[in-house]
């Protein structure tokens, strides 16, 4: 009898799906076909789907079933469908980078992360939409994508976040069990927070970026977007590792072993009360208060702290603009940059070509100071904790910088944690922690370089005490 696929399957964890595959409750082909069809049918509802790969996926799932029949097990991702942000190449198929000038671009080889996932038996069911060119020139509109604005499964009048928009909404809507996103400065954490899923930004260099669109060579990272911290660990264990094709590869391995890391009660967590009580939008504060209470329940010691006072915004903007303009110089010089959807992005990319060597070098030298000072900060705390975003997803009809000039507290707290931790190349984990006006809100944990297991251990503990990551939007 054919298996019946209900929401309990579409919103199941990787571990649950793997167990049901092994117990032959359904085959890999049945599972992949169900997810691929759901992604094809519902993905456009959220502008999440860049390219369906149903036929290819079913062929690969057939091979997985043959292996499972021979009891040849390759790990927990075997037979699990997934989606990939459309900045990752997939051999022989279009890779648009979310941008009209690249709509017909096709590469001969696949990104290393996709190769690694396929080797372990995971099945790519579709490429997922993204903000054009990962938003490198700066953008003002949620519609800054060839696929239209990323729509949030919790409220389609709201943005799904960027730049990994489709990855966020596809996981949140149960269209894929997990997805791969990318972050230069906030592009995994933001859609994870807005869509109510768990997102992990790995340490710079831990995951190969070979086959991924470059925006900023010194800041780009790839990472998993999943239903839970546990799932992020399982996916990271597959995609991490050295790669001679990525010049920035740290040539480090990652084994998901949170049980061998410090218990939450032995951790010192640095946070800034001003972030939760004053900087966060009023509607989100009750959720953040609950999140802080849940963190205290773990036994961890919460210590007040703040980031060193450094020009994080100017540094991030200068470095990404300079490197991005260099990457996309042919697009800019050819005039095809004018085909992008967002006028602010067009202007930002053009202006980036005018950044002087002096300014870029100054920014990169100050970045060394950022790394040194944040390293020192971790002598007093083990993990930093802050809201992932200070408000829920904005309306797609509003400019994204609408709140840019709002009055903010003088105490900076950890408000610049996203740019600061990206400049320092540190890992971060975004965890759903409640709702405000019916929309998800989230906290982020940031740790020292290569502390992913520690972050995941704490995140897993948090998620055993809360159920926010299990909440599902009404999808259809």
């Amino acid at each position: 009898m054919a298996a019946e696929f209900t929401d309990d399957i579409f919103f199941a964890s990787i571990g649950e799906l793997n167990a049901r595959l092994k117990s032959k409750e359904f085959s890999a082909v049945e599972l992949v076909r169900a997810f691929a069809r759901r992604l094809e049918q519902l993905g456009p509802r959220y502008n999440a789907l860049a390219l369906p790969l149903t036929d290819v996926a079913i062929r690969r799932a057939t091979d997985v079933d043959k292996e499972l029949k021979r009891e040849r097990y390759r790990g927990p991702l075997q037979g699990i469908p997934f989606g990939a942000k459309d900045l990752l190449s997939y051999a022989g198929h279009p890779t648009t980078w979310g941008a009209r000038p690249y709509a017909a671009q096709v590469f001969d080889s696949s990104a290393t992360v996709i190769d690694k996932l396929e080797k372990t038996g995971a099945v790519l069911v579709g490429k997922l939409a993204m903000v054009e060119l990962a938003g490198g020139g700066g953008y003002r509109s949620a519609a800054a994508s060839v696929f239209g604005p990323g729509l949030n499964p919790w409220d389609r009048t709201r943005w799904s976040g960027g730049s990994s928009s489709g990855s966020g909404s596809a996981v949140a809507a149960g269209l894929v069990p997990f997805a791969i996103g990318s972050e230069t400065s906030g592009s995994i954490l933001t859609p994870a927070a807005f869509c109510g899923i768990t997102g992990l930004r790995p340490t710079y260099g831990l995951v190969s970026r070979h086959g991924a669109m470059a925006l900023s060579w010194t800041m780009d990272k790839l990472g998993p977007m999943c239903r839970s911290a546990e799932d992020c660990g399982l996916v990271l264990a597959v995609i991490a590792g050295g790669d001679s094709n990525d010049p920035a590869s740290a040539h480090k391995s990652f084994y998901y072993t949170p049980q061998y890391y410090r218990a939450s009660k032995d951790l010192r967590i640095g946070y800034a009360p001003v972030d939760f009580a004053e900087r966060a939008q009023p509607a989100t504060r009750p959720a953040f208060e609950q999140a802080l209470a849940a963190m205290r329940e773990t036994g961890a010691k919460l210590i007040e702290t703040r980031l060193p006072d450094l020009p994080y915004g100017a540094l991030t903007s200068t470095i990404i603009s300079a490197e991005g303009a260099s990457v996309f110089e042919p697009l800019i010089q050819s005039g095809k940059v004018d085909e992008l959807a967002d006028p602010k992005q067009i202007a930002g990319l053009k202006a980036g070509l005018e950044i002087s060597a002096h300014d870029y070098l100054k920014a990169m030298r100050i970045r060394t100071i950022v790394q040194q000072k944040i390293r020192r900060l971790f002598e007093d705390v083990d993990v930093l904790l802050a809201p992932s975003r200070f408000g829920p997803a904005p309306k797609i009809s509003e400019p994204l910088d609408k709140h840019a000039n709002d009055a903010t507290p003088k105490d900076l707290g950890l408000s610049a944690l996203i740019p600061a931790s990206n400049l320092a190349g540190l890992p971060a984990l975004s965890l759903p922690c409640g709702f405000a006006d019916g929309l998800p809100v989230a906290i982020q944990l940031v740790g020292p370089a290569f502390s992913e297991n520690q972050l995941l251990a704490l995140g897993k503990d948090f998620q055993t005490r809360t159920d926010w990551h299990r909440k599902r939007p009404t999808v259809a």
């Binding site: 239209g148 950044i355 300014d359 060394t368």
Partner: protein, 64 residues
Amino acid sequence: MTRRELAAVLGSVTSIASVRAQEPPASQPEDLNTAAREQLRNNSETLSKFDLPMSTEPAFLFKA
């Protein structure tokens, strides 16, 4: 993927693109270009106020 399949996929992607993307502006609004340059100038001024020891090297050999 066959050439026919590729053509079909490319057709769907480009048609999505033409339907959904905002129409590109006929000419780049000068105020946005000015604002982008102004932003970079502000960044430059912010960075110039930051004193660095001569020994500080850029984060090129990046080790997280």
